[in-house]
Amino acid sequence: MMDIVLVVLVFVVASVAGYLLISRVPQQLHTPLMSMTNAISGVTIIGAVLLFSLDGDVFSLVLGGAAVVLAAFNLVGGFAITNRMLAMFRTKDRDAG
């Protein structure tokens, strides 16, 4: 099992990195940013897929399957909508795409 110290360390590093990164994002990109970080939280698909690496009893397979559908929906949908949004931002001189 994972070392708790490591977990705490990861949180601290993520907090510092997150603060440095997020506080510099301009306001006009807050919605795309949120939509992308939302997509990243679909990373839980890793956990869902891992449920399939164990001796597959029905209980794990059913809940694991549901988790995979949900996480994939979150992950793929999140990145897709972020991409769609950002593609719409244009200036007169040049297209953002």
Partner: protein, 482 residues
């Protein structure tokens, strides 16, 4: 377990992810960053698949395809005004997925988990499922399926506290039990958390939705990170933690923009102030009442009943003001989005530019239903985004501007935020539209905005009110400018 190669690969993936997020400086780079972040998660998934022998592929592959196709289809089709509710739904899906994974792991690991992992696991269950139910309520509100205004139950705070105690006690009981009692207490904990998510979210509404959405976003990241602790996957912990932290920072940014603290948004302290606002209207100084009447006259001049004097049609008046103006600042609000008038606003803006005027847009940080929502709506209407300005940049420029054109915004330009105390918007920084030489307001009505505070800007002698459907009014304005 120490596998240096694996550790380096994981670290590399995190660096790629952070690089992706760091590209969010301009829209063009942001799009690149989004793809980079997607790549990082693809690599993370590939690493997991490569490391572990997966069974049950007959189930795994089809369900993964179903989720992918659904997610993609919905994302391609949804309209931009519904982005906040889609984000809430996706968020809920992520939270529920984390909950399910943690739940399976806790049930399977009964009796073999270290106390620390158990604590993280219980916490993960609660956060995951509460994020799910809270997000569903938020999505319902944003989609207008649930009443948008805050719903306060009798003894709301007490109910929430009782649920929190229930969650805590279930966790303690689960911690000291085994066998079927373990499962039962885990289910109790989940049920209490599910209810807590609903009770928590339902009290928040309207202008506070941006705060709720980013807070829930943070919750789904935290649920993923805790889930990572339970299944012992470092990548999951790191990615989840990054989302949790960034969501929380955005939540703080939103709160600061409204001059509120998180606690008052979530505990409804504001609601205690709300009733005091209503009598405030009737206790206006006499002068103000007269002004109000005057403003109402000019606003409702299309009513024939008021045609006694030489009351000018506000449309004619507004047209004249705008025609004379050298510089115009357009202030869009959520009312513009509701009236589907963004394309008309941008069309008018372009027309004014062709007439040789300096046109800029001022966007308040909490305009729309999630942070930055207004920018996306305007981008969809093909505005030149270099003309969009944030509050701190544009506010000093109002004093030297000829016309501030307010479209469907109310609270964010209400001088009462600075002038009065004890209202829901007191202390909220506003766009200083009133400092412009003239103000033209296009709004459905001259009633108070969401906050319930009457807008003193509407009574200014230099304000022209164009009431009615924003789309119609903008079309008329464009036509009469020709």
């Amino acid at each position: 377990m120490t596998n240096w190669g694996g550790l380096v690969a994981e670290f590399g993936i995190i660096l790629i992810l952070i690089f992706g997020i760091s590209r969010f400086r301009t829209p063009r780079e942001g799009r690149f960053g989004n793809l980079i972040a997607a790549l990082a998660l693809g690599l993370a998934l590939a690493l997991v698949v490569r490391r572990h022998h997966l069974t049950g592929l007959g189930v795994l592959v089809p369900v993964a395809v179903v989720g992918t196709v659904l997610g993609w289809l919905v994302a391609e089709r949804v309209s931009m005004i519904r982005i906040p509710s889609l984000v809430a739904i996706q968020n809920g899906a992520g939270g529920l997925a984390s909950f399910l994974v943690s739940f399976v792991e806790l049930v399977r690991g009964a009796g073999q988990l270290s106390p620390a992992v158990q604590v993280f696991g219980f916490f993960g269950l609660a956060v995951g499922v509460a994020t799910f139910s809270g997000s569903m309520v938020a999505a319902g509100k944003l989609d207008n399926r649930i009443r948008q205004t805050p719903v306060v139950l009798p003894r709301h705070g007490t109910i929430l506290t009782a649920l929190a105690v229930g969650i805590f006690l279930s966790a303690v009981m689960a911690g000291v039990s085994s066998g079927s009692a373990w499962l039962i207490f885990l289910l109790c904990l989940s049920a209490f958390s599910l209810a807590a998510g609903v009770v928590f979210s339902i009290r928040i509404g309207g202008a506070d939705m941006p705060v709720l959405i980013s807070f829930l976003n943070s919750g789904s990241g935290l649920a993923a990170a805790l889930c990572g602790v339970v299944i012992g996957n470092r990548l999951l912990v790191a990615c989840g933690a990054t989302v949790a932290v960034s969501g929380f920072i955005l939540t703080q940014v939103m709160c600061r923009a409204m001059n509120r603290n998180l606690l008052s948004v979530f505990t409804g302290i504001k609601l205690k102030h709300a009733p005091s606002v209503v009598p405030a209207e009737s206790t206006l100084p006499p002068g103000a009442t007269a002004d109000l009447a005057a403003a109402a006259d000019s606003g409702a001049a299309s009513d024939s009943a008021l045609s006694s004097d030489e009351v000018v049609d506000p449309l004619v008046c507004a047209t004249e003001i705008i025609r004379e103006a050298q510089s115009v600042i357009i202030i869009p609000g959520y009312g513009m989005a509701l009236a589907h008038a963004a394309p008309d606003v941008v069309a008018l803006g372009s027309r004014l530019e062709e007439m040789g005027k300096n046109v800029r847009y001022a966007v308040h940080p909490v305009a729309g239903r999630m942070p930055g929502h207004m920018h996306v709506l305007l981008a969809e209407a093909e505005v030149d985004y270099s003309k969009l300005h944030e509050m701190s940049v544009i506010n000093p420029l109002f004093a030297e501007t000829d016309v501030a054109l307010v479209v469907g915004a109310c609270d964010v330009v209400n001088p009462a935020a600075a002038e009065t105390e004890d209202t829901p918007i007191s202390g909220m920084p506003i766009l200083l539209a009133g400092e412009a030489r003239h103000v033209v307001v296009i709004n459905l009505d001259d009633k108070p905005g969401y906050s319930g505070v009457p807008n003193t800007l509407y009574r200014n002698p230099n304000t022209v009110m164009l009431l009615g459907d924003a789309k119609e009014r903008l079309k008329q304005l464009s036509a009469s400018l020709e």
